[in-house]
Amino acid sequence: MSGFFGGLDIGSATTKAAIVSEDAVLGHAVVATGVHCDETARNLMNQVIEAHGLQFGDLKGVTTTGYGRRLVSFATGTISEITANVRGAVWYGQQGGRQIRTIINIGGQDSKVISLDEQGVTKNFSMNDKCAAGTGRFLESLARILEVNLTELGDIALEAEVPIRINSTCTVFAESEIISLIARGRKKSEIVAGAHYAIANRLARMARRVGVVDQVFFDGGPALNRGLVEAVENEIAAELYVPPDVPQVTTAVGAALIARDEYLYGAETDELPKARRMNREAECNLCP
Amino acid sequence: MNVQRLRLISQFVFFVLLTYGGLFAIDLGSRMPTFSCAFVPDNGGSCFLIGFQHMLSRPLPEFLGEQGIRLLKSLGIVALWAVVINKAWCGWICPFGLMQDLLTRLRNLVFIDMSRFGWVTRKRYKSVKYILLALLILIPLGIGNGVPGLSRDWTAPFCQMCPARPLMPLFRGDFSEFHIDFSSWPGLALTTIAVILVGLLFTSAFVKRRFLCSYCPMLAVLSLFDKVGFLSLNKDGQKCTRCGNCSRACPMEIREIEEEKTLSNLVTQDCILCLKCIDACPENQALEARFLGMPIYTASAEGFLKRQNVDLLRLKRKKKR
């Protein structure tokens, strides 16, 4: 019987869990992060495990990643979301027969662009972790103001002929800008498309700093949004590869794969001097 | 072994060898590119310039025959000396250099400050030695070919004005050259210059280091062999921090040693290979003297400390107290 490995990505908005066997991704699930990271993570992981008729004890390792990675008591290892994201993207790239050289990720409260070398090793990365501008959080507030469902945003955006320019991607400022546009009677679709372009423009600037090389991988929850995918493709002038159905869980899958790699090929992280590991509670900067 | 002490010893040995060598039947020949004056009786080897000037004062057609071959042979020996020993002639052998270095040491003993040239001035004076070298060749040629105004009184004009001529025989008790020649006006002018230069040697050493060397036509001759000499002074620009210690220590005030970061061989026009720059360099392997590519003296942090006389025991003693 081969081993099973779990990966958990505890983001600011959602927690993602995935399990892999030695050669395949078995399953994954997503849930809102809530207050008790540890409990949420355990329940979610159990849910995925049970769906496959396994038991918790069957897991040979669980690697956690994301902002809450140090808050999970049953983790056997932690990894930064950049490395986990890379591992997941490279895996899904191989599944789709593509060599991934650039990764664009939009998360709940940050966004990042990672460039990889030919071997799939991180070469450089750029991260916007200072504020939630132009992230999933921004899309959420956009949907709320326009009184539409978050999942509908993409289709609404595709209806627009010419998007309206929206200058700010700051969640707070954009809100008032959008409200004034609604008051002036602008079409919803044009506002939504404009907002997508604003996000895409911001991402493109980050991507230019790192350098965009084909094939570009696009993941994170907002990658499910077709309107945003089109806007980003336009702004960075490159085709995006969005893993079908799974953009939200690539990082969790990556973490699970890292647990697998470490089990199969040996880990070096375990040798780290444990005494110097931070054991204080990590801050969970839930915003706004 | 402190390289500067070694250099002083070498200068002394050669001074004795060249000035008194004749007494012990030592003769290194009279084709040496250094200021061991031919006027020193029974010298152990002498400067090639006097013979060179004499050979040049012949009608031009003669150079096509035997005279030309003699000249070439003579220059060949000089070139050989220059290639093998390079600028170390100036820093390690030249008795006239020794005089200046000794006077500098005397100045240091009494803590008299020296002065430095401005950078532009220093550069401007660089050409003087080449002008002197040109005159040293052209005047004898002029004499041999009947150029009006150049009588036999101009013979060996450089030797007449060279301060080594009146000075060096003094060490053998020979005062005959220490005079001003009133017999002809060229003689009067040139020998007066020589005596003034002797005076300048003693006074300038209390103001500047190796003052006269900057104008020395022998340096001009040797500088022709800078890049082909067996001895080289190499720099690894990447290791250099441009701290300026080397150019501050350089008695010839050479700037390139500090500024140059790409060129490898830094035996420049005025370099006398005294290696004081390597003494002053605190960076491991930034500067290195080589003989035929083999390292003979390399800059190091440890060596720097030793030469700075940093008392390494001082700390330990303090700790115990």
Partner: protein
């Protein structure tokens, strides 16, 4: 009336609050540091300086009655002259976040956090030794520092040293030599002592002797696996700011002996798998050890650094040649400016060469470039440096931050990912 006199003023209350907060920071920092059981024993001496930092402990700028104290900033104030005049130099560059609150009264928000912090300490009775200084020597090395001098001038005796920007030129050298001579005169005036050839030579020897240990220290740090953590090394160098030069050197000698022994016995603080990192960029002063703490908590090890508060401060030595007063003055002047790799003065290629040298010698795998928000000199050259490092195939991470502890989590993610990248590279190789 009397009762009112005794009531502390608002400023005094503020100073007390800042002092308390600072003590809390120091305590918290040492709680983390003390968790590490692998530290060399000789670090205890240096810890004592920092643990007593706010209270004016035994080794923090302790001068006998009557001895003058001269405050210095940056790395351009020739300490030899201060020692030669029998005074005690103390470097005032500060890393306290708590005092920037006061500094913000004088400076714009975008100002460099270091200058903000210093302004607070200079104008408030928080740390004793800031108030003890009989003269403050301030090089106009960047705009912040130059303006800071102006702001301080009305409060205390300040001597500004103007450092020429393009330092290699002949006129710059002459100008700088004159500046150093002016400083000598200022020191002589403050102390009432004439600096002679003999006292200056003695001072040069004293500092050189300390520098010998500094050189030894940086050599020992390069060993694989690392015998000492980079943050401890930074602390050692930082302690020099406040300590007596010879006492400090003796303590460092002891540490060096211990490190030598550790290397011989194979005792180390980080396993061979730890990513070997070079930290450079804007200065880091106690207690702003945010970045080195994160790096080494995450398993990396700082094997070299290139800071004006550390390596750059003490590694270049005065090279005496002829031993006259003028010669020594010239040697001192040149030592402080010519080899200095502060981006305000040096050209980027020369700085790169210095970094490459360190990278090669210490077998560094990646560079972390620390930029304090508002520290323009480093920020400006960053793009060029990134390109130059890329050309040489050396991974580099830029960390832009300030003294506030707010961004610790974000920094941790970045630094962790960077270290994972370095380990990933190692696997590929």
């Amino acid at each position: 009336m009397k009762a009112e006199d005794k009531k502390p003023s608002r400023r005094e209350r503020l100073a007390k609050k800042i002092k308390t907060n600072l003590s809390m920071t120091v305590r918290e920092l040492f709680e983390q540091i003390d968790e590490d059981r692998s530290r060399p024993k000789a670090m205890a001496y240096f810890d004592s300086i920092f643990k007593n930092f706010t209270g004016g402990g035994e080794n923090v700028v302790q001068v006998p009655e009557g001895q003058k104290v001269i405050g210095t900033y940056c790395v351009f104030v020739p300490e030899e002259l201060v020692y030669a005049a029998g005074a005690h130099p103390v470097r005032l560059c500060a890393g306290t976040y708590e005092s920037s609150e006061v500094g913000e009264e004088y400076l714009p928000d975008v100002a460099c956090p270091m200058v903000k912090s210093e302004m607070g300490l200079e104008t408030m009775p928080i740390l004793d030794f800031y108030q003890k200084c009989d003269l403050v020597a301030l090089p106009g090395s960047c705009h912040w520092k130059l303006k800071m001098a102006e702001m301080l001038e009305e409060r205390k005796p300040v001597h500004v040293l103007d450092v020429p920007r393009i330092k290699e030129r002949e006129n710059s050298r002459q100008y700088w030599l004159e500046e150093v001579k002016n400083f000598k005169a200022a020191v002589e005036k403050t102390t009432g002592t004439r600096i002679t050839r003999k006292t200056l030579k003695g001072a040069i020897r004293t500092v050189q002797a300390a520098q010998v240990e500094v050189h030894r220290f940086f050599e020992l740090r390069k060993a694989i696996p690392a015998p000492i953590l980079g943050r401890d090394a930074l602390a050692v160098m930082n302690a020099y700011f406040y300590d007596d030069v010879s006492r400090w050197a003796a303590a460092l000698a002891e540490l060096n002996d211990e490190l030598e022994q550790r290397i011989a016995e194979g005792v180390h603080v980080a396993p061979a798998s730890s990513a070997r990192i070079l930290l450079t960029g804007s200065p880091m002063v106690f207690p702003n050890w945010k970045v080195p703490m994160i790096i080494e908590d995450l398993g990396g090890v700082l094997v070299a650094d290139e800071f004006c508060t550390s390596q750059r401060y003490l590694s270049d030595m005065v090279a005496m040649d002829e031993g006259t007063l003028n010669d020594m003055m010239m040697a001192i002047a040149e030592r402080y400016v010519l080899p200095c790799s502060c981006p305000m003065f040096s050209n980027t290629l020369e700085r790169r060469d210095k970094l490459l040298q360190l990278i090669e010698e210490a077998q560094v795998e990646g560079v972390i470039y620390h930029i304090l928000k508002g520290c323009h000199p480093y920020d400006i050259e960053l793009k060029m440096m990134e390109k130059l490092m890329q050309d040489k195939g050396i991974p580099m991470l830029k960390i832009e931050t300030d003294y506030s502890p707010q961004d610790v989590e974000q920094l941790r993610t970045r630094i962790e990912a960077f270290q994972e990248t370095l380990r990933g590279r190692r696997r590929v190789q």
